[in-house]
């Protein structure tokens, strides 16, 4: 079919029914600019049309939730007037097209979500997924994404405190680049995105509008990729962290002086999305004059101006009396600003270009009337085969030999090849830096601290989306608990394949329900999230990859929080949590040593989860070393401590298979004395000392050898 035969709405990715719905709303055929607006605002990326009905099982009614899902970021109360804002986002497809700029603009976008709320962004985390590093293109993507995050995050002046990374074949043509951001604010600085006050003005702040990423939201984020799609490349957006830095300072000064009625960042669908959202959220309308938009390229048409996704722009609603002061503050920080609109009683968003009305639509309809789909779901056929294909673990294993292989895995080995490229110290808040479990940040001037962990486990969620998803919630909770924090709020990022396939919808629904149940069990509110669907290339869906970002909170912070490098001669080693259950499905042992994937992951018991997590939080105030057991089981967790502390460890009475078992909800604790003060189930397993990691009859490895392998896992693959 030639383009001429394809109707305009279809070229923009709309279905016939959606087009009819637009006609129903307007009572006429849409003008070109109007059609462009609906097509982007009703895209999967902006409207969550496939997932929205399933997200309602998340709850966020805990009393410390100040702003739940729906705004740009979730906000929770930390007491004494302090609030924290958090949010997670994906930039998967743009990062595949152009890894450096895709990842960089992803960082820029998430930061705007945070300072839109009135908060100063204080930290970032980067959950990543790529194809195996033995393929050059995967190395190219990985290198590009990491340097893009570094290039933007470091220059914009927000430290990146951690993240996670997985490598698996299904991500080769569809890497996942998620970013989580955290902000801090005082109560009185909180701003929302609902415009009010007829006659108030809308001011566009920041970068000039150019032809960046027009249609990017609908094309890149809402449709599957095919081989050859690289031709769509002109829609690459170039990030400018310097502009963003100035924009952050401008906005924070505006909030400080109380000059902002409402504010919204410009993301997907640019001006059309931002103006309709601020107006629609406040039940108002807006007159927008496109002639006043500062442009990078003079000859842009109205549709292009409305749809442009140029980075580093914000839309602030201010009173006419404050306009001059707002413009002066922007000028002081050396950013451009233009007054492009006026708030009206509504309900229409009316767009003018050269004095002519080029679009007039009910503002709220772009968001509220977006279609919702209850797409069919069906348990996929692969599960029965996979579950039947149980891991076979020999009774006799040489743990030293197994460790040599596991420690060399790029997702188990030292990830400081990544975190060394990120400024992770700016603001002097970082108490636990990347390379431990959760990150821990102090809040200067208070006793309080925040902990964060991001976690995903795509192979386990593939084998059982419900159990796997619950387990990542518990794992992230444990990761923050071992720093002394209590799990306090969660954001989630749902990276899935093509939702038009029933098997993918089933994975999504199971996953959401699994996460929701775990959050319920821990009384952790879900304050926000992001959905990234259509992660499918050449007909192959990615592994279902929900990712969570857990915020933990402590007040006060432990004076000397546990660290992996604090093990010393003579300390007692304890294993806290359930007995091993032979949980090898999607374990590092089965994936890496056996080179296969199968079986059904164990379920995590909510009662046990509460008990272990609570005990971790309180032990963190008393003992020097506390580490949760995850990828690679007990043996890898102990090796990490031995390597980081530069000392040997002797374990007695743990059989070889149990060393690599990945039964959830377990932690290692080390104490200077011979008792462990906890109610949770625990047992003594050994002592710190010597030069080897010694597993008795099951084998041993010298710590310096283990360290060399572990340290070299990423550099040997990436430094050529």
């Amino acid at each position: 079919m030639t383009t001429a035969e394809v109707p305009a709405y279809a070229q923009l990715g709309m279905t016939e029914d959606e087009y009819q719905a637009v006609i129903g709303i307007l009572g006429r055929e849409p003008l070109a600019a109007e059609l462009a607006m609906y097509s982007v605002m009703w895209s999967e990326h902006c409207s969550y049309k496939s997932s929205r009905s399933h997200l309602s099982c998340f709850t966020s009614d805990q009393p410390w939730v100040v702003v739940g899902p729906g705004e740009n970021a979730g906000v929770v109360d930390l007491g004494d007037g302090w609030l924290a804002a958090l949010r997670i986002e994906s930039h998967n497809h743009p990062s595949f097209v152009e890894p450096y700029q895709g990842a960089a603009t992803g960082v820029g976008g998430i930061l705007r979500d945070i300072f839109t709320m009135g908060a100063r962004p204080i930290a970032l985390w980067d959950p990543l997924r790529f194809g195996p590093l033995d393929q050059p293109h995967n190395r190219f993507l990985f290198e590009g994404v990491v340097s893009g995050i570094a290039g933007y995050g470091n220059a914009v002046g927000v430290p990146t405190l951690g993240g996670e990374v997985e490598f698996a074949d299904r991500f080769s043509k569809n890497p996942l680049v998620n970013v989580m951001a955290l902000g801090l604010l005082k109560e009185e600085q909180l701003v929302l995105s609902a415009a009010s006050g007829e006659g108030n003005l809308a001011i566009l702040l920041g970068n000039a509008t150019g032809r960046d990423g027009i249609g990017g939201a609908s094309i890149l984020a809402s449709a599957s990729f095919e081989e050859g799609d690289e031709a769509k490349r002109p829609s690459v957006q170039v990030g400018d962290p310097f502009e963003e830095k100035k924009l952050i300072e401008t906005c924070l000064e505006l909030y400080d002086k109380g000059l902002v009625v409402a504010i919204q960042d410009l993301g997907a669908a640019g001006i059309s999305c931002a103006t309709s959202e601020v107006a629609g959220n406040g039940g108002m309308g807006m007159d927008v004059d496109l002639d006043r938009v500062h442009l990078r390229e003079p000859d842009m048409n109205p549709g292009e101006i409305l749809m442009s996704e140029s980075q580093e722009r914000m839309l602030a609603v201010v009173t006419p009396e404050d306009e001059a002061e707002v413009l002066a503050i922007a000028a002081k920080w050396e950013i451009e600003a233009s007054t492009i609109g006026t708030v009206t009683a509504g309900p229409d968003l009316s767009i003018y270009d050269s004095g002519e009305l080029v679009g007039e639509v009910p503002a709220a309809s772009l968001a509220d009337d977006a279609p919702r789909y209850d797409r069919p779901s069906k348990r996929p056929g692969y599960l029965d085969t996979a579950w039947a294909n149980e891991p076979q673990i020999p009774d006799e294993v040489d743990a030293g030999e197994v460790l040599r292989v596991l420690l060399d895995d790029p997702a188990i080995g030292d990830r400081s090849w990544i975190s060394r490229q990120y400024d992770h110290m700016l603001f002097l808040n970082t108490v636990i830096e990347p390379g431990h479990d959760g990150s821990l940040l102090r809040i200067k001037g208070t006793e309080k601290a925040l902990a964060v962990s991001t976690d995903g486990d795509s192979l386990r969620t593939y084998l059982d989306p419900r159990r796997g998803s619950a387990r990542i919630v518990y794992e992230s909770a444990l990761n923050v608990a071992v720093t002394g924090a209590t799990p306090y709020a969660l954001v989630d990022n749902l990276n899935f394949g093509n939702p038009e396939e029933p098997g993918v919808m089933w994975q999504l629904i199971e996953s959401v329900e699994g996460m929701a149940a775990a959050c319920e069990a821990l009384n952790v509110p879900v304050v926000g999230g992001n959905v990234s669907l259509y992660n499918q290339t050449d007909g192959v869906d990615i592994y279902p990859s929900p990712v969570v970002g857990m915020l933990g909170f402590c007040d006060p912070m432990p004076e000397n929080p546990p660290r992996l490098d604090r093990a010393e001669e003579g300390m007692s080693i304890w294993l806290v949590g359930p007995e091993p259950q032979g949980d090898f499905a999607a374990s590092a042992y089965d994936r890496i040593i056996n080179d296969r994937l199968g079986g059904r992951p164990a379920d995590a018991d909510p009662e046990m989860a509460r008990s272990v997590i609570d005990s971790a939080t309180s032990l963190a105030f008393e003992i020097p070393v506390l580490h949760d057991i995850s990828n690679g089981g007990l043996a890898v967790a102990l090796a990490e401590i031995a390597i980081r502390s530069g000392i040997g460890i002797s374990v007695t009475g743990v059989s070889a298979p149990d060393l690599f078992d990945e039964t959830p909800l377990r932690i290692i604790a080390m104490t200077r004395n011979t008792t462990l003060n906890t109610n949770a189930h625990h047992q003594w397993i050994g002592t710190v000392g010597g030069t080897d990691l010694n597993f008795g009859d099951s084998g041993s490895i010298c710590v310096t050898d283990a360290a060399a392998i572990w340290r070299n896992a990423l550099p040997r693959r990436m430094n050529h």
Binding site: S147, A150, G151, N154, A155, G157, D240, P241, F242, E243, K245, K246, K332, W333, E334, S416, S419, R420, Q421, Y422, D423, H424, M425, L426, F427, L428, T430, V431, E433, R442, K444, N719
Partner: protein, 230 residues
């Protein structure tokens, strides 16, 4: 007695250095780069960050900020002047310190705690440290690789104040983290009142941050500002 902390668009370590200088007992005042006066400043700090986005060359555009006439003027009068990281780059661009900074050897950003050996105590920055002392201080830069076309003169005149080393103070040029010529991490000018270094002493200002070794440098600097008549 106030130390002026200069803020350019894109600077991001200004709050951190203010925090650490106040731990060292100093009063500070942030000065916007468009200002032109530094009345009464007994010391000047150019903090780290990405002034003007590091576009063109690091420090190149910042060097022409309106405040720079006053900085050059006071530095010429002997007022203690310190450039950290991006501030160091600006000082070299402004000609207040010799040499320049180019991309790290492996073309990757480096954020990690490194060891520095004190090479000279004859500068406003190192006066409180002792010769050969090894300090554990974070480095955080992409363009931290020091080059100079007259490095022999710089060495001969004793302008090098800090070198990258191992934890025992051994200097090995091959293993310097970023490829710096002669492992140079910090230098001073002929009058010893202007100093610049790539690592961030303010990031090693409290034990809870992993090291407080930067304080010996900052305290020395603050002490030298105490000697200035405002």
């Amino acid at each position: 007695m106030t130390i002026a902390v200069i803020v350019y668009p894109g600077t991001n370590c200004e709050h951190d250095i203010v925090h650490a200088l106040s731990l060292a007992g100093a009063d500070t005042e942030m000065v916007w780069h468009r200002d032109t006066e530094l009345n009464g400043a007994t010391g000047i700090v150019l903090p780290g960050g990405f002034a003007h986005g590091d576009y063109l060359r690091t420090g190149a555009i910042a060097r022409f900020s309106p405040i720079m006439d006053a900085v050059v003027d006071l530095a010429g009068q002997g007022v203690p002047t310190l450039g950290i990281c991006n501030g160091f780059q600006i000082l070299t661009e402004a000609g207040l310190l010799p040499g320049g900074l180019v991309a790290n050897r492996d073309l990757r950003f480096i954020c990690e705690t490194v060891h520095l050996r004190v090479e000279s105590t004859d500068s406003v920055l190192t006066r409180a440290a002792h010769m050969g002392q090894v300090l554990s201080i974070p480095l955080n830069s992409y363009e931290g690789n020091y080059v100079a076309d007259d490095v022999d003169r710089i060495e001969a005149e004793g302008d090098v104040i800090l070198r990258y080393s191992d934890e025992n103070g051994n200097v090995d040029h091959i293993t310097s983290p970023n490829g710096s010529t002669n492992s140079i991490a910090g230098i001073t000018n002929a009058s010893r009142n202007v100093a610049g270094l790539m690592p961030h002493p303010e990031r090693a200002s409290e034990d809870i941050l992993g090291s407080a070794d930067g304080m010996v440098l900052l305290e020395g600097f603050v002490a030298s500002t105490d000697l200035v008549d405002a």
